[in-house]
Point group: D2
Chain length 173, copies 4
């Protein structure tokens, strides 16, 4: 019974974690879903991660309504959801989802990266590993999970100069 | 307040996760603590991981008494403990610790790897990432954490042919 | 006698091969010499590579006079020279050096990368490996060495859309 | 004309360069040809590398007659040949081929690795890169190519304690 597969939804929306280097332009861009390739580096013998590539956008142009619609469609299945997202607007998207979904029976985990997956010094695979783990063990709530940290979305802010998230004690629910 | 550092002890004992390839003998061996090098690949902005290299032994010759003694000395500090260990005897060591420590106020997480850190296809960094995360979020208990799975030590067994751990429903407390 | 060290000069000037990802700006930049770090991944038991970080510039703003001055100062030592360079203007720099140095007793090898060192799919370490090898075995001349190819600088052109160099049959000496 | 493909034969025979870590036995073994996977990491836009997996043997049990037979069959095609081989008996195999093939119109390059491809600190990809390059630029002869060094097979010996090859000045032709 316990040795059955656990389903986790992984919604990808773009952001730094999925950026690629373009040899033609010499810049980094969101072109395509690249998380699949890195997911295959992880051993997940009893987890079935269902990747849903939703969009490939930069953090600043995220379409929150589309994300909300997708999350709402998945909620009846009662399985945890991980959302990869640009870090600049990750908290705003998390708060938007939280306001729109008052009742939650699963954990919804937002994650991303400061440096794209596969670039030297990337935190992408670490954050992906942590988020899939968080999705299995955390209580129902909306979280940001990165860098061995867990933040409820209403208590977190990005510290741009340090390239990390920190607790925001001033924020109220 | 919440932006303070969290301490995690990481006791290393050898096992596959720390094996290195010897160019002189053409075999893999436990020579020295090598977890430090891989730990530096992880971003842990608010975690202070204190590595305690205890021994460098193969799974079969683990000295459980030394591990127990070290764990007992750390318990009064009330901070979570991760122990890297050979996978063949990881469960036995976990059960030994559990029997000897009836009262526990922190999570104690055993982890390791099927393929050494830094070898192609290694699960070492994934398991290390998950265990440091588990140490921060799980309730007090003795666990095996690997491959996106969390097992209490009295409910788990190694499935050698599959190179993974599975739930052992028959085991009694 | 033959087991003595061979000296190779490695002049670094920036270009894609040395670009790094900036977490603050989300773009790739030439900030600092990073070839040292990758050079240490190579085994060079009888080669003493003397790295000379000359500048950290994008291909378009290369200062050829400074490169020429440095090369001329090294010529009396009679040891091969590798120059890492942006690929867009690599050929122009090679032709400039060739015109200014009519007599050559060593090979001068220009190399670079289409994707920065340490980024997924980078050709940087391959090109660095090949260039150091070329510096030891090729006859005196000015070369572009990349992707298992050797071109005299007056017979080569960059094919931007294919992210590679090709023979330019039309060029005259 | 010059932008045509260049053919290189790559005969694989096993040895350390192709060893894999077995999770079942905890040891390294020659199981299968694994060079293909690493070859795909190199950019070879005008080289067609034809991999011929001949055997998967440890250095000590090499079957030189089979290698010689294969090489002889390829000689009429007049294209360079790289042979990956265990380092302990690489020189002996090279000398064996040299004695059996008095006339040579192409370079035959023997290479291998001290640490298997894909293991931390491996020299495998460096040696593979160098050998494919050597196959294109060196004069006809029998060579050992590794670690930015080129040795004619009759002038080289392995220095086991240093995990490298060195010039053997005493050897006579």
């Amino acid at each position: 019974m316990k040795n059955e597969m656990t389903i986790i939804y992984l919604i990808t929306t773009g952001g730094t974690i999925e950026k690629v280097y373009s040899e033609q332009t010499g810049s980094v861009q969101n072109v395509d879903n690249k998380i699949d390739r890195y997911l295959r580096m992880l051993r997940l013998p009893d987890s079935e991660v269902r990747v849903m590539p939703l969009m490939n956008k930069d953090s600043l142009e995220m379409d929150r309504e589309v994300i909300l619609k997708t999350v709402k469609e998945l909620l009846p299945e009662d399985v945890p959801i991980v959302i990869t997202h640009g870090t600049d607007t990750m908290v705003a998207t998390g708060l938007y989802l939280q306001r729109a979904i008052p009742e939650l029976k699963i954990p919804i985990v937002l994650t991303g990266a400061m440096t794209p997956l596969g670039f030297e010094g990337s935190d992408g695979l670490q954050n992906l590993t942590e988020s899939l783990f968080a999705a299995r063990v955390l209580d129902p709530n909306f979280y940001v999970v990165m860098h061995n940290q867990v933040f409820p979305v209403h208590r977190v802010g990005k510290e741009q100069s340090l390239a990390r998230f920190v607790w925001d004690e001033k924020k109220l629910e």
